[in-house]
Amino acid sequence: MDLNLFAEHTDTRWEITPHGNMRVPAVIYANEALIRSMDEKVYEQLCNVATLPGIVQSAYAMPDAHWGYGFPIGGVAAFDPEQGGVVSGGGVGFDISCGVRTLHTGLQREEILADQQKLATELSRSIPAGLGSTGRIHLNDTDMEAMLRGGAQWAVAQGFGNADDLARIEEDGCMQGAEPWQVSAKARQRQRDEMGTLGSGNHYLEVQHITTLYDEDIARVYGLHVGDIMVSIHCGSRGLGHQIGTEFLKEMATSAVRHDIHLPDRELACAPINSDIGQRYLGAMRAGINCALANRQIITDLTRKAFASVLAKAELRLLYDVSHNTCKLEEHEVKGKRRKLYIHRKGATRAYGPGHADVPETLRSAGQPVLIGGSMGTASYILAGTAASEQQAFSSACHGAGRAMSRHQAKHQYRGREVIDELAGRGIIIKSPSLRGVAEEAQGAYKDVAAVVDAADQAGLARKVARLEPLIVVKG
């Protein structure tokens, strides 16, 4: 990206002055190296977001931003319904509430090495992954309705995990305002056999060990120590979320004219929050969030059982579960006034700071955990939300490394077998049904997650707490 596009900047905050139809500035949080390597579509898409009605303060992009659908991936934007603010399916994404949850195991690295292969085999056997895989849970109409309404709370009531898990999930595991009746028959049909499945592409389950702590105080509150074995699960709302995204994108794209909304990009399809279609989308999207939360809760239960059969000593306790494709109604301070705003985070993670009432009491003094997945075979990070983050980008931070190379290029540059062997040489076991899928997810195809996380820390979006490296990767 051309640095001359920015009227003003600091080391970590790059501002685009409103021009054309922009109602507010656009701001990218990144260091200079990340800005230079960022694709120019991020600039174009962020400026487009800044034209939407009812947008508040600025349109924001995170350090890992890249070309998305209407919104850049890594995009954050807040809208005020009382000022004609809109809700956008593109600002949430197809994979509604895709997110990460990270669990403690109570084990240290040396305690699993002898059983690493056995554990990898048991996890890949137990957790359905990849296209065509089906879960062992098949929902009838009543179950589907209850799951869309209840999310992880429903899953716990069905016997997947325990009630202690719920406080460690955003929204206590159940998104309020879900309206299952807004979810189409097709979306339900797509989900019927997919509960408790990992999906494919960049979704994964990883067994990791903590290599470094950056903030001892926060690490103590989170219960993290060097050498701890952790488990992270990255997946979303599967077929149901995708179908909701597809259907409402189509409806909003064709209805924009009726609402007098000029779309600079058809993909930025949106509708006024206070419109029939806006409300229907919110109801369906919230049900989609519940589907993702339920899915991760079921996979957690499968993971616990897999561990129990190999390492009976393990006790998997949830650290936290974050979602990074959502639109949520939140209260934020804008120019000294508290306002209720609809915050879109598309490939961005909520990052509430210390003391926030919505952070679980046991973690509140440190701020919300922000879980950043690396690419396959690279490090992941745990960060903590900061007090400053609210003013920066409505308490938001990055979500991962972002791709540096298209899937197309990656599958020509990397061979799945070689990637698997190279990782094995570093002590990392990968289980995947597809060599091509492995090639497309190779480390070199992604940006440097360490640089992204450093930039987020320097910009005040979230504070670095711990670094983790994988030992086992199960991907679809």
Binding site: D39, K41, H66, W67, G68, Y69, I73, F94, D95, G130, L131, G132, S133, T134, K186, Q189, R190, G199, S200, G201, G239, H242, Q243, G245, T246, L249, K250, A253, T254, D265, R266, E267, A269, G402, R403, S406, R407, H408, Q409, K411, P433, S434, L435, R436, G437, E440, G476
Partner: protein, 154 residues
């Protein structure tokens, strides 16, 4: 770049190519169908879609399903067509490799040929989540060849 090519009629004036290919996109992948007719371009775009998931040479074309869809214009029809196939593949757990497509105004009727998905045989690389409006285009080129393309989210 992965692609599949079949020559058009060899008699009479022109040999116009009929093929599918993928094109670049940062996070995901573009699918493109090129053919002398719009319907065949749509069919080729669908083959390109399936080739995102698997090596289509590995997909036997012995079973078929009938699909239909409609939209307000050609471009939205392409997205609708691809999303209809994505839905059918997901819910029937099938993969397809060949399509017969008819389009009348913006009504599409088609037969999709394929077989049940077998992970060991087909080794699916990714699941396509949906067709998008990014790089969406359905138009005739200067040489009257039809191109139908868009980016799909994986």
């Amino acid at each position: 770049m992965p692609s599949g090519r079949a020559t058009g009629p060899t008699c009479c004036e022109f040999i116009m190519d009929t093929y599918w290919e993928h094109f670049e996109h940062g996070a995901d992948i573009g699918v493109r169908g090129v053919a002398p007719s719009k319907q065949e371009a749509f069919a080729q775009a669908a083959v390109a879609l399936c080739a995102v998931i698997t090596d289509i040479e590995q997909v036997a074309t012995e079973e078929s399903i009938a699909v239909s869809c409609s939209a307000v214009d050609d471009e939205l029809l392409l997205v609708e067509w691809l999303n209809t196939l994505i839905f059918e593949m997901a819910t029937r757990r099938m993969l397809f490799a060949r399509f017969d497509v008819e389009i009348d105004k913006q009504q599409l009727v088609a037969t999709a040929w394929g077989e049940p998905l077998q992970p060991d045989k087909h080794q699916p690389a990714v699941e396509v989540k949906g067709a998008t409006y990014t790089a969406l285009r359905v138009a005739q080129d200067a040489n009257d060849s039809w191109r139908a393309e868009c980016v799909v989210d994986v």
